[in-house]
Symmetry: C2
Subunit: 307 residues, 2 copies
């Protein structure tokens, strides 16, 4: 096998109470990539369709992640990569993570899987560092593992796959305004009250428990964020209205996707997720900002090969 075509899912990081630790993979939104063995050593990005992004290997997140993988095996192989971007850069649903993880996952397959999923997370994190200045793993982990993932610890890196209830759907609205990850990090406070901390880890425990026992109501009750959301949501027009109308339309709960500007809601069942999409559209249709809305089943598998 010398060539692989893969689907690289969009992901929601910072799931509400799970700031910096909980992420989830989507199923109907994602990039496609073709990765091909070459005789020449090294990584070449030969095509990049759909977005204005750099083709130079060391400036492209997929290139940087792929090089990190090659470095780990002595830089003896060569691959060319075509990227068909469907996730908009800066949308807050893991655009850079999709490219980074797609590259390293496909190369690992073509090499006969010398690396574990955890290794691939580490390589892909180099792409995240290029994109945001932070080695964060909460988008690349769900893209690689599928479903919900918990990054329990960074030192050492510890990624845990959480059970994904079958009827869980995500609805995401992407208002097309620009919020840089670095900017949205800067506005956060470096300290929090112990009281808010206790609420947050109570909710993380509740959310993880709810996912395992498939208690949709508990999942909904646990989608609370007393720390990050109140600060970051002021950067997102009509955030509170989108959230409250989503819940009125039947969503279990929701929050900011990644560092925004996308807003996500989780629902039980596709019909409800579609109702939530309609409610989100109704909030945004008259405010003069372009937007996309996605409805997706939770993707239990992560990156996969496609024809």
């Amino acid at each position: 096998m010398d060539e692989l075509k893969v689907f690289c899912p969009a992901t929601i990081a910072n799931i509400s109470c799970g700031f910096d630790v909980l992420g989830v993979a989507l199923d109907s939104v994602g990039d496609e990539m073709v990765v091909r063995k070459t005789k020449e050593k090294g990584i070449k990005i030969t095509k990049l369709i759909g977005q204005e992004l750099p083709l130079e290997t060391n400036k492209n997140v997929a290139g940087v992640a792929a090089v990190a993988l090659l470095d780990a095996i002595g830089y003896r192989e060569g691959f060319e990569i075509e990227i068909y971007k469907k996730i908009k850069a800066g949308s807050g649903i893991g655009s850079s993570a999709a490219s980074s993880t797609g590259a390293v996952w496909a190369i690992n397959e073509l090499l006969g899987k010398p690396f574990s999923s955890l290794d691939l997370v580490k390589f892909a994190m180099e792409g995240e560092y290029l994109a945001s200045g932070v080695h964060h793993a909460d988008n690349v982990a769900p893209a690689l593992y599928g479903g919900f993932t918990l990054v329990r610890s960074y030192e050492p890196l510890d990624v845990i796959k959480i059970n994904t209830p079958d009827k869980l759907y995500a609805t995401v609205i992407h208002p097309q305004i620009e919020i840089k990850t670095s900017d949205s990090r800067k506005i956060l406070k470096t300290s929090i009250t112990l009281k808010d901390g206790i609420k947050q880890w109570g909710n993380v425990g509740g959310l993880v428990a709810g996912l395992f026992i498939e208690d949709y109501e508990l999942i909904g009750r646990s989608l609370e964020d007393h720390i990050i959301e109140p600060i970051r949501s002021i950067l997102i027009p009509e955030f509170n209205k989108v959230k409250s109308e989503s819940i009125k339309a039947g969503a279990l709960g929701g929050g900011i996707s990644g560092s925004g500007p996308s807003i996500f809601a989780l629902s039980k069942g596709e019909n409800t997720a579609n109702d939530v999409a309609e409610a989100m559209r109704n909030v945004y249709k008259n405010i003069g900002i372009n937007f996309d809305v996605h409805v997706s089943k939770i993707n239990p598998q992560g990156i996969k090969t496609i024809d």
Copy 2:
């Protein structure tokens, strides 16, 4: 049925990363209580063996909790309570919670179970308030539900029962020094860094996930507390040595039980838990403080009737 004899388990609250939210019930350590219907309305504590504690209903945690229950049904019934204390007051393994929960659980049984477990938690919390000045639920919840419990939220009160892996044992050493819950609350800081908060909720997620998937190593890795333990442990002689020797002896991890002074460790299997007990004894045997050591399987059921 006019009379019931019950076993009221000791409990470990503040399980490491799960400060204020995670607790667990023990199986071989606990109080016994006899609760008997009376013709006279109201609650009377008729016996209190094993500890110097007040018999007056409104000064006794079991009395106060039982009155809270009676108030909820119009104060039409009457019960007398005998308490055989085996858990030392102030030991940090839920002595007051055992009495409060035992009373309300037994009365609820004798009345034909008009109340849910969550209702009983609320009544028993009145006993905790009398004992510590705080309406905390992280001891009474595991005593009533059994196994591991998560208090996700206090307003509204939301208690979730977490799966308990079958081979999980606790070892607890109780150094007989006095630390008042109110004092050990006072030394805590009211704010924490966001960075430590993220580590803490990552570990709570990891611990809850580890309990559900019965991954003992993950449970062990998640028993980290970067926030409370570094502050409170200075009140407990040789805390660090007890913890490190427990881990050397095979424990998965451990921490402060409740607000101390007891120290707990969790282990896979009874043999290891016994080795950990020996390691704990070896640390304490020459430092001139009296101590008790308990080894117990995790109690999956909570309070139960006995003959």
